[in-house]
Each structure stands twice: as C-alpha cells, then as structure tokens.
C-alpha cells in the first residue's frame, strides 16, 4: 500500500506536556491508556475518535501527544483531567502546541555545548561515578528531618525538595522547600544529588 500524498493526509498537531512530579517515568503505553481514558471519560467515544490522541514521544520527563488539527483545545482540557497512570499519581503540565514534533523536541532536549579546543579534560570524579553506577551500587541518598521524622530526599531542584519518609510504612511523596527544612533544623542540601 502506498502512502498518501501530503495534501491528502489528515492534518495533525502535537502537544508538549511536562510530567509531574519530576522523576516519574511512566511507560508510554500506560500513559497512552491514561490519556485515552481521560479523553473518553470527558468527551465520549465520538469526540475521542475525532481527536485521536496518541503518545508519540516520552523522553526527558516530557511527553508529546498527537491529535487532529483543530482539536487541541479539547485534548488540552482532557489532559488537565489526567491524575494517575497505573495507580501512580501524575499531572501533565501543558507547555506548547506545534505542527511538528521536532520543534517541540527542541524545547526540552538539553542543548549540546560546542566543544572548544581549550576545554579542560573531564574530571576523574565523573569516571568514579560511572564506575560505581556500572557496578550497580546505589548512591546513598541524603536524609533530612521534617516534623521530627526522617525523610529521604528523592528530588531537589532549586528551592524545591521532594522527600519520602524513611522506612517502608509510608512511601508517599512530600513536596517541600529548602526553607521548610532549614526552619526545622534539617541538613543543608546541595542543588544536585
């Protein structure tokens, strides 16, 4: 079967959304089911068939969702009702809509730093980290205290700190800031773990 010429193909649009909380890595198929469920639940089968949502890329904590041109608004509203993906709580924050996937990719892909001749050699520290990672030894995560309980820091970005209570009883994520920890006499933590 030959492919249709461009003028006869249906026009598509792509929506870029960030997956929150940071560090959550759902499977592409599971995320598609979550989005499809949300769209069908809100708009019904007939409208969902017109929207034809599809997850076309899932990388760097971002997802690119395809829809038919003219149905971006409906899909965006449906995306705001996505609350979980296979019992894991998530939230999709829409960043942009575009006609090509490539223009959306340029928004979230890390920019490559051009190599210069005067660039210093890579530090030996990074090699050590790689060796440790290769051996499968998990890095020790920093701990902190909040309301007299010990927490493990799972994500830290600027002021934002995500923690999980130490132990196996309560594994819910708490969303705090560095100020919350400092006020409660917690450890000082670096920006990157």
């Amino acid at each position: 079967m030959s492919t249709r010429p461009p003028t006869l193909r249906e026009k598509r649009r792509y929506i870029l959304a960030r997956i929150e909380p940071a560090g959550t890595l759902p499977e592409q198929k599971e995320l598609y089911y979550a989005i499809s469920d949300a769209t069908t639940s809100l708009w019904g089968d007939a409208t969902t068939a017109i929207i034809t949502p599809a997850v076309v890329a899932l990388e760097y904590g971002h997802v690119v969702i395809r829809c038919r041109r003219g149905t971006e608004r409906e899909l965006a509203i449906a995306l705001s009702t996505v609350t979980a993906c296979r019992d894991v709580r998530i939230c999709l924050r829409i960043i942009a809509a575009s006609g090509t996937i490539e223009s959306l990719r340029s928004r979230y892909r890390p920019k490559k730093i051009p190599k210069s001749k005067n660039q210093p050699a890579p530090e030996p520290e990074s090699e050590t980290t790689a060796t440790v990672a290769d051996e499968g030894v998990e890095p020790v995560l920093p701990e902190c205290t909040f309301v007299k309980k010990t927490f493990i820091i799972v994500q830290c970005n600027g002021q934002k700190v995500d923690v999980i209570e130490k132990g196996f009883k309560n594994t819910n994520r708490l969303f705090l800031t560095k100020d919350d920890l400092e006020n409660l006499n917690a450890t000082t933590i670096s920006d990157r773990i």
Binding site: S41, I77, S80, T83, R89, C91, I94, F175, L176, T177
Partner: protein, 214 residues
C-alpha cells in the same frame, strides 16, 4: 485584580508545604491562594491568605465561629447544606464564601438565596476537583449543578470564586487549564477572570451608592 485559588490544603492536610504550594501557584500564574489553617504571608511573590473553612456543624456553631474570626482577616467560608441553612449563612455578616454547593441537595441554592448572595456579597465557590478528578456520574452531576449556578449568576450577579481544593501540587492546575475546564460549565473568559478575582471582590468593602461629600 488578583488571580486567586480560593482553597488549597497545605501539610498536614495535604502533602505539600505552604511554601511549596505558593511556589507552584506562582509558576501556574496565580497571584494569591487561600490556604486552610495557615497564617497569612507572602511566599515567592504569592500572597497566602488564611482561610477558615467551616463544615458539618449546626448553624449555632457557625455563628459563634464567624463571630470569633470576624476581624481576624481570614477568608471565612461555610459548607453548604439545605436551603434554610444556606439562606441563614448567606445572611450572616462576616461570611465570605459558600462552598460545596455541588454536594448539597438540588434545591439548596435557589433564586432567593442567589438574590441574598448578591445583596450581601457572599461568593459561591466553584470547586473544580469533581471535574478534574471525578469520573462519570459524579462529574456529570457537578457540571450540571455548576451550569445551574451560572444561570443564576447571570441573572443576579453574585460573586463567584474558583478553587482547586488541592491537597497536593499535582491537584493544582494553571490558569489556562482552569479557563478550559470552566468552559465545560458555560463560563467564557471574562467570567473566568471575574471568578478568579472573586476572593478580592468579597474582601473589599462595597462602594456606597451615595457618598456624602460635606
């Protein structure tokens, strides 16, 4: 005009600290939030207003609670119940918002209550969580009830507030998403803008119809 989320629940009611909620609110395009059981303040450029949410108590207790917190600067809101209760609450001086209208019975908020709300500048809260998190019948009921509220609002012009009732960062939505969700209940962009500024509207004193100059 301050864009306000009329109800969020920080730790320990939710899983995020008030500072983190304020940071997130700023990123989502809000100027202020009303937080339950939290002192007022400003974090990350977002004004946090202290909110008192009264629910599931008889009218006598509502009156005493409102009297206690009248001049505390808190945003006082009462959960809706039956029609008589709602009319009595709307008539109380010091009450700012009537909440949970989607869970009250069908006749809980009628045209008389709407007229009273407009006269006393008591806002009716539109809780977006049943639309965001609810599915099937629960969501349909909420949408239907809110559409009914909007019909009364167009007629009597009482204030409306919008709230996410977020207990987590993941429950909060940005202003554009809120506008999209509100379009499901028949609100257009000017309506949404007015509703997002609803908390500011009920907290400012109304302009006198006649001003005595000398």
């Amino acid at each position: 005009m301050k864009i306000t989320d009329a109800a969020v629940y920080p730790y320990p009611l939710g899983d995020a600290s008030i500072r983190r909620l304020a940071l997130e609110a700023a990123a989502l395009g809000f100027d202020s939030i009303v937080a339950a059981d939290t002192p007022s303040g400003t974090y990350g450029g977002v004004e946090v207003r202290s909110g008192l949410m009264i629910r599931d108590v008889p009218l006598k207790d509502v009156i005493s609670s409102v009297k206690r917190s009248k001049d505390s600067g808190k945003v006082i809101s009462v959960n809706a119940a039956n029609n008589n209760f709602n009319r009595a609450v709307i008539g109380l001086k010091g009450v700012h918002i009537l909440r949970g209208i989607q869970s009250a019975d069908k006749l809980a908020f009628d045209h008389v209550a709407a007229k009273m709300a407009a006269d006393n500048r008591v806002a009716v809260d539109i809780d977006l969580s049943p639309i965001i998190m609810g599915r099937s019948v629960a969501r349909q009921r909420a949408i239907h009830r809110y559409m009914d509220i909007m019909v009364l609002e167009q007629r009597f012009e009482f204030p409306i507030t919008l709230s996410s009732h977020a207990r987590s960062l993941l429950d909060m939505r940005n202003v554009r998403d809120i506008a999209g969700i509100c379009s499901l209940i028949g609100m257009d962009v000017p309506d949404v803008e007015r509703a997002l500024a609803g908390v500011g509207t009920v907290l400012t004193a109304p302009k006198q119809a006649v001003t005595v100059i000398a």
